[in-house]
């Protein structure tokens, strides 16, 4: 299973499980009905069909129930999303610059790196920029993704809670070596991070 390295990731996974549950229920329901009807009302067993033109009550039920369910799901998604869309004010800012086909991260003190080093349990805001075409900043373990484009000001944020090293992809097709455009996020302790940041 995929790592859950942020609190946000846990929320997303919970939502995912709820929705998968609803979806599996409906899929099983429809499939069971299809198979049951196909067997029970097969031509051999049931040579005479009965015309049923419709049933207003049923129509209303199966309009209203899905409506309520999808509105509920919408709300789940929106409430998680709005958290992701509003970075905390105190977040530490890192500039991420995408170019064909590599990432470059610039820290507030001017230090640059190809690998994204971040301290654990700290709000990090990533400001995204691109020097050429569209790219997308994607860390599956954090469940975040945001496109990096020239001439636009996109950003995203996260708070990594687990130490470790995670993959960072470019998720938007960007040409020849798009698939090679990945690097690592290293979540390290605060001390280690400060040492690294101030080294050299």
């Amino acid at each position: 299973m995929i790592a859950q390295a942020t609190n946000f990731a846990q929320n997303v996974d919970n939502t995912f499980i709820i929705i998968v549950g609803i979806c599996v229920f409906f899929l099983v329901l429809i499939t069971t009905l299809l198979i049951t009807f196909a067997i029970k009302y097969n031509k051999k067993r049931n040579p005479k069909a009965v015309n049923i033109h419709g049933n207003i009550k049923l129509e209303i039920i199966w309009t209203i129930i899905p409506t309520l369910i999808v509105l509920y799901i919408f709300w789940l998604g929106w409430s998680d999303y709005i958290e992701l869309a509003t970075p905390p004010k105190d977040a530490m800012v890192i500039n991420a610059t995408a170019s064909m086909w590599q990432w470059k991260f610039t820290y507030s003190n001017g230090k640059q790196a190809d690998t994204l080093y971040v301290p654990v349990n700290e709000n990090i805001k990533i400001k995204l920029n691109s020097t050429d075409v569209s790219h997308s900043f994607y860390i599956p373990a954090f469940r975040i993704k945001r496109d990096a484009m020239p001439n636009t000001n996109n950003s995203t944020w996260f708070n990594a809670e687990k130490l470790g090293s995670y993959t960072l992809f470019c998720a938007e097709y960007c040409g020849l070596n798009h698939s090679k455009m990945y690097t690592e996020v290293k979540v390290v302790t605060k001390d280690k991070f400060n040492n690294w940041l101030n080294s050299e």
Partner: protein
Amino acid sequence: MADNSIAISSKGHESYIDHKGKHSGLLGWIFSTDHKRIAILYLVAISSWFLIAVLLGFLIRLELLTPGETIVGAQTYNAFFTLHGIIMVFLFVIPAIPAIFGNFFLPIMLGAKDVAFPRLNLFSWYLYIIGGIFVIIAIFLPGGAPDSGWTFYIPYSIRTSTNMIFTLSAAFILGFSSIVTGLNFIVTIHRMRAPGMSWFRMPLFPWALYATGWIQVLVTPIIGITLLLIIVERVFRVGLFDPSLGGDPVLYQHLFWIYSHPAVYIMAVPAMGVITEIITVYSHKTIFGYKAIAFSSLAIALFGSLVWGHHMFSAGMSDTANFIFSLLTFLVAIPSAIKVFNWTATLYKGSIDLEPPMLYGLAFIFLFTIGGLTGIMLGTLSLDIHLTDTTFVVGHFHYVIFGTTGFAFIGGLYHWFPKMFGRTYNKKLAKISFWILLVGFNILYFPMFVMGWLGMPRRSYDYLPEYQSYHVISTIGSWILILALIIIVYTFIKALRSGERTHEMNYCGGETLEWKVETPPTHENFDEIPVITGGPYDYKQNELESEVE
């Protein structure tokens, strides 16, 4: 339709295939304005493109069998998936059902002799062919095959040195062809219905085509102008979208998806129409909730045109836009759900004949349900952020597009093949290939959901070893699917060449007008235009027998 006393056909008339017009031989086909002949022209052209695109898809899967280079380099792979997308979308899925079955059966189902503008109809086929030729030119011109992905995202599509201009022109011309077909169908439905056929006595396949026609007419020009602007931008360096000239790449995405999302409904709604016909015919009973299905087609067309933004949740739209587009997206789920429930309810107390078309009909409902439910996951904002641009999306739209349009296309072809050609096919082979196809399909596309959830980006030539097992399963699935398609193609070609001849008018017990004309239909379909006195799916014999009971 219930009135069988009208002599719609008189035996012994030559069919449209044998009809002698102004020209003979091949010219009699490519200059014919007969809607049925045009449908056959489309069938030949579209099927050929389909097979080419399938081959490309097969090669893509083969390349992904192992990380790194398996059979081709990255540039070739990028061209493969770009062409696979362009050909499948613009040359197969969008035209397939309207241009083939719509052209062939819409006038017949309405009780008309032809579409409203027969010459325009032929013209649209020529546009299709010219569009196809442009794609071929784009592949073989020295600059190299296009590698921008079928979405032509700015700025990449301006920067790449490959043959974008021909590719974009191809899409532009094909869009025009699609508009002409849609326009023709709308007018045909308004003006050519047989006497007595009110709107609610019209079969549901025409209803679906009507809804589709409106989407085609209203949204296709927007992609037309957008693609034209990329050409202008490439040739004259006019500042429109290019960020280096101040343009906004997100605005390009908006304009692209204003068309391309409704395009999904141009693909799916006619397929739903085909499936509705199949379900009722092989259940031998009337459709459950006729009006609900008719209106849900319109509702899907309407809402479907308003949800394009859900392709761009991670692109940096405002939160307001994300909120609105996510909410509207969920509203599309409702008419889709209504359709699924109505189809399922139609089976209840039917007399179900598991002929090959019906198998495709049932599989359609199953696959569409999976496609729709995964669509709900993608419409959910927080999940979409994680899942977009991964193979989850690839799996989702293959379930939705192959699972609906593809299955409806093959199913519809089985359903109407004897009517169109006057020959029968090998049903056993058709059933065997169906099951292989269904198994292969799921093995091919289901792992994409899992991979996508685990973070595998789409359009990637290379991947990390941790994803390999899923890729291997998926690729094996593609082999099974290809095997099924080979059997299917063999079945049809064999049926065409040496299938048993049949002139049975109503070989499946249908009630709509195409079952009351000759097999194959005559040049002008009807000797005398029928007068309609009842609904399209009355199945009178059911009611008579139940009264006797």
